[in-house]
Amino acid sequence: MAIASTEFNYVADLVRREAAIVLEPGKEYLVEARLLPLARAAGQTDIGQYIRHAQQPANREQRWAIVEALTTNETSWFRDAAVFEGFRKELLPRLLETRPAYQPLRIWSAAASTGQEAYSLAMLLTEELGISRKFEIVGTDISRAVLAQARAGRYTQMEMNRGLPARNLVRFFQRTGTAWQVDPQLQRSVSFRELNLAAPFSGLPRFDVVFLRNVLIYFDLPTKQTILRRVRQTMASDGWLILGTAETTRGIDEEFEHTRLGGLTAYRASAEAPLELTRRA
């Protein structure tokens, strides 16, 4: 069931206006795949009809649902294993070395979606730090629907299967009915809030590490530049930015310099005094 170009254009305009996300022609399949479940839930089998219905002035909630559906990433636990290994083995020891033990580590999962990245980081830090060190993880997303699930910390069996190591499942989750519930203690180390990356940020603490993975691709260049500049301002002067494996700051924001840390490429603000990168013996 292909959608007409007028309907695609309407959705592309809507998503660009509301979330500054660019849907180029050729992404019709994405629109169809994401909106079909919404159309069905609304009792319609035709996506075109669903989109036309959304255009009526009164149907603001429906338009918001469309924006949410198209800004949500499919997500798995410990997505890109090499990134988490690089974080665990290279970046984390550097952070611990350069920060006093009483200072909690603050990490931002900036496209948190349903929370898998934020909880993956919380699991990793719990394993690595034990009770010796406090940490706080903030997950943000534009979509209220995904944030509700992230906060609930409840995942279906299918979601649990996506890249979550079995030992983590056993340690950090409890089965409830057909789903799995994240451990309350782990949940307490993670908070979630609504945030539109394309608008000014407010109320964020200073972060030691920012995970901004696989989300910049959705924005046009001026918006990407604005986002990276604002992200830089939320980071500690010797803090780190982590992008998706296929992404780079190059060509967008030259104030960042990159460092290879195992399988991980991390970025730091280059304007600040460079941090000593001597490896521990």
Partner: protein, 127 residues
Amino acid sequence: MTVHAIVIDDSSAMRMILRRIVTKLGFEVDEAVNGRDALDKLNAAEQVPDVALIDWNMPEMNGLEFIQAVRSDPRYSRLTLLMVTTESEQSQIVRALAAGAHEYLIKPFTPDAVAEKLEILGLTAGV
């Protein structure tokens, strides 16, 4: 180097589904219909496979018994063991890991979920 897998499941439909998924990842695939059959195949093989995808509930010898047999035989010390089963209780996962399973995947699963488990096990590059 090609990764060599053995799919151990009494359901031919499930063997076919898993074969399709790991073949797409570039693996070579053998099949066995239960734990006993798999042990026979390992015994006869010139080269031990790299990874076994193991159902739990099977006639003759179940997946847990197979894992215990493989773990007590030094010839198979490098065989990676991935349980793929409908058994979904935490206590069962703990049992399988304690017996020597390296990872655990609950049925039903999608191709991505299989690929991600194999990535955790270091058998594929990133997906």
